[in-house]
Every structure is written in structure tokens, then in C-alpha cells.
């Protein structure tokens, strides 16, 4: 690692102040960022560790919304009865991230801010139509993700919480790359209160996480696995690497969507 200063503020305003320093970098749980720092792919002047800010942690139900603080760990989400009682798909998702040690440190805010194309949480944020709350504003998930590792976050902007509308039913179907346990192609499927069905896909898109309009239309009209058969999922725009071809990923989108429908039927 390059050398850098380290600070662990206990309140958000102090963190935002520190992030105003030239070359400052925010850190959630560090489970992606620390390996990146070790590879010298990042050279911050000061690392602002957000994990000491208690106001960013916690899970609460607010009417028809579930609000998860940005500093809440994957382990806390996976073990929360508030989450499993409201959005079962989020429980499945959080419990399948990495391994127990990663889940004890990694946070939902860190995952969303990093927007790794194979991360799990972005698919849930998109499929559930979440709102990303920051220290400056609220951003709709549909506007938040802007390509590989790119988000709507500005310099010095920190995610404070994520607000998830509570769906009628939801599930996360993960097809993992067996060595890294990131998503090779995974689908978050949500049946919303207005009858619509939303499909978030991660791990597959060359531009990162996306919703699939064709699948959403077909399943909103007929919520059955057979409805997926008639939908064309193009290999165009899917990522291509040594783990899987675009065609394989496109096929997996349909397979995982079918499994999701079956899991909720």
C-alpha cells in the first residue's frame, strides 16, 4: 500500500469535513477497498473510515418502507428479523455475500457506492426501486447506477441510508463464480404492491447492473416461469470474460429469473 493518513470520525459532519481534503477517500467496511489499496490501485491522501459513525447503522421500518443505514453490515442485514419479515429477498442476498468474515465488516453503503458490476446489492436496489439517501439529497436507484464502478455520487457525498419499498414478495437467485463468490449472473425479482414485477440483474451486464424490461413486462402480465420462455434476452451488452461468454450470461439471466419465479410460486 501507499502511505496515507487514517481517520475514524464518530459523526457524519466530521467525516464530511475530512472528505473535503484533497485526495480523501471514504471507506465503509473496507472489504473491497483494502484489497484495492494493497494492489496500489488507489492512492488516497487520507482514508476516512465511516465505520465509527453509529448514526449510519441500523435497520428500521417506516410505514411501507424498510430503511437500512449505510453503515449496516451484510451480517446485520442477513440476521435481522425486521428485514426477513419485510423483504425476504434481501435476507437471501445479504447472507450470500462473500463469507462470514466479509459479512461482518462489509456494508450496504460501501457495496452501493462501489457499484462493482458483480456485486449483489445493486440488483436489489434497482429491482425494489430503492431510494439512496445521502448527506446532500435523495437519489432514485434508477438514476444512481451509471456504469462500471460509476454512480451519481459527487465528490464528498456520502450515502447515509437506503430506503426500500416493501414488496409483496421478493427473492434473490444467485449464480456465483465459485472462486470469488461474486455474482456470475444473479437476479433479484420483486413483486410490487401495484402488481408490477421488477427484475434486477447483476454480474451479467457489460455496463453493470440493469433491469430487464422484456422480462418485467412478461412477468407483470403473467407471473409464471413459462412466461420467461417467450422473452428474448440478447447477448449483446453482456460482459465477456474468462468465466463466461455473453451468450452464457444471457441464458443465465433467463434461468435465474425462472428460478426466482418458481421460488415465489
Amino acid at each position: 500500500m501507499y502511505s496515507f493518513d487514517y481517520t475514524k470520525p464518530t459523526d457524519l459532519s466530521a467525516a464530511v469535513d475530512s472528505l473535503g481534503t484533497e485526495g480523501a477517500q471514504a471507506m465503509g467496511g473496507g472489504q473491497t477497498l483494502i484489497p484495492v489499496l494493497k494492489q496500489r490501485l488507489s492512492q488516497p491522501s487520507i482514508l476516512v473510515d465511516l465505520s465509527g459513525i453509529e448514526s449510519l447503522k441500523g435497520i428500521r421500518r417506516m410505514g411501507d418502507m424498510l430503511v437500512i443505514g449505510a453503515g449496516t453490515t451484510h451480517g446485520a442485514v442477513a440476521g435481522s428479523s425486521d428485514v426477513s419479515g419485510a423483504i425476504a429477498g434481501l435476507t437471501e442476498l445479504a447472507g450470500k455475500i462473500g463469507d462470514p468474515q466479509v459479512r461482518n465488516r462489509g456494508t450496504i453503503g460501501g457495496s452501493l457506492a462501489n457499484n462493482d458490476p458483480a456485486a449483489c446489492y445493486p440488483s436489489a436496489a434497482l429491482a425494489l426501486g430503492a431510494t439512496i439517501e445521502t448527506n446532500k439529497r435523495e437519489i432514485a436507484a434508477d438514476d444512481f447506477f451509471q456504469g462500471l464502478y460509476a454512480t451519481a455520487l459527487e465528490e464528498g457525498e456520502v450515502i447515509t441510508a437506503v430506503k426500500f419499498p416493501i414488496p409483496v414478495a421478493s427473492t434473490y437467485q444467485k449464480f456465483e463464480q465459485p472462486a470469488s463468490r461474486f455474482s456470475l449472473t444473479s437476479v433479484f425479482l420483486a413483486k410490487m404492491a401495484d402488481g408490477s414485477v421488477r427484475v434486477g440483474v447483476t454480474g451479467a451486464g457489460a455496463d453493470g447492473v440493469f433491469r430487464h424490461a422484456g422480462l418485467e413486462q412478461a412477468l407483470s402480465a403473467n407471473f409464471a416461469a413459462s412466461a420467461v420462455d417467450g422473452v428474448e434476452v440478447s447477448a449483446e451488452g453482456m460482459s465477456n470474460d474468462l468465466h463466461a461468454t455473453p451468450e452464457f450470461r444471457a441464458n443465465l439471466v433467463k434461468v435465474m429469473t425462472k428460478r426466482a419465479v418458481e421460488a415465489l410460486s
Binding site: S3, G30, I34, P35, G75, G98, D99, Q101, R105
Partner: protein, 162 residues
């Protein structure tokens, strides 16, 4: 450079750390506690697992400065007070749960947390709970047996205490 104070295995310890000093390097180089191993240094192998405030973490993926004031338990804290092997360590010995032994400190620490949260795990739950720990010798079979044996021994001890 700043001074970090942590409680390690019940004892107060202090040492110097840079902003980028990892917890595992602080434990090994500053506190000279070399039971915690660095296997891959890329957050994958789990040889460096310790507990920070009661939760298992990969100490190669946590900064020492983040643990200032924390309570840390390492493999050195898993032995009995008289220096004999603790229950999980003894189970590894009895079940031949190690060959070269390099991954064992992390395996023991991961199993300790697993059994605390789930005292009677199924084989599938044990394998799932050890996803963050890699062993290149055993093929995992005897490690799973060691976890099962430790779970039974701890359950027996708990029953005897009642």
C-alpha cells in the same frame, strides 16, 4: 504514526501503527503474536481470522487503527489457561484436522464464532461457515469432522455444567 491500544486475549497491549498498518501486521510485528498467519494477503484464504469485539474478521483486511480500543481474540487466546489445547484445538488434533497447519489458526477462529452462533450446525452449515477459509492439504473432510467433534464436546460440557 499513532499509538494503538487494544485488549488482546484479555491483556491490554499498545503499539505503534501507521495509517495503513493492517491489524495482522500489528499483531505479528508490533505485538510479536505470530499465531495469526498471513496466507494470501488478499482477503481470500482466512488464515488471518481473529475476533474483533466478538466478531470474526480477516485481520489482513482491517486496519490496526480501526481497532484502537477494541477487544481482540487471537488463536493464542483459544488455549486453556494452563496452556493445554482448547476444545476446538483438541478436536483438530483428534480428528487429524490439519496437515501443514498453516490455515488452522483461522479455521479455529472461524469455527469458534460459528459454534457460538449455532452450537449444533449441520455438515452443510459447517461447510458454509468455513467458506472464508482455504486449506490446501486436507480436502476439508477432517476439518468438518473436527468442527462436529468440537460442537459435540462443547454441548457435552454445557450439559455437564447444568
Amino acid at each position: 504514526m499513532s499509538t494503538i491500544s487494544i485488549t488482546v486475549n484479555g491483556k491490554q497491549k499498545s503499539g505503534d501503527a501507521q495509517g495503513n498498518t493492517l491489524l495482522v501486521d500489528f499483531l505479528r510485528s508490533e505485538l510479536k503474536m505470530t499465531g495469526t498467519h498471513v496466507g494470501c494477503d488478499t482477503s481470500q484464504c482466512g488464515a488471518c481470522v481473529v475476533h474483533v469485539n466478538g466478531e470474526s474478521v480477516k485481520s489482513c483486511s482491517v486496519f490496526a487503527s480501526a481497532c484502537d480500543g477494541a477487544t481482540v481474540t487471537t488463536i493464542e487466546g483459544m488455549a486453556n489457561d494452563d496452556g493445554s489445547l482448547g476444545v476446538i484445538q483438541a478436536a483438530f488434533q483428534e480428528q487429524h484436522g490439519l496437515q501443514c497447519g498453516f490455515c488452522t489458526p483461522g479455521m479455529v477462529m472461524s469455527i469458534a464464532e460459528m459454534l457460538k452462533n449455532n452450537p449444533q450446525p449441520t455438515e452443510a452449515e459447517i461447510r458454509e461457515g468455513l467458506k472464508g477459509n482455504i486449506c490446501r492439504c486436507t480436502g476439508y473432510h477432517n476439518i468438518v469432522k473436527a468442527a462436529q467433534s468440537a460442537a459435540a464436546a462443547l454441548a457435552g460440557a454445557a450439559q455437564a455444567a447444568e
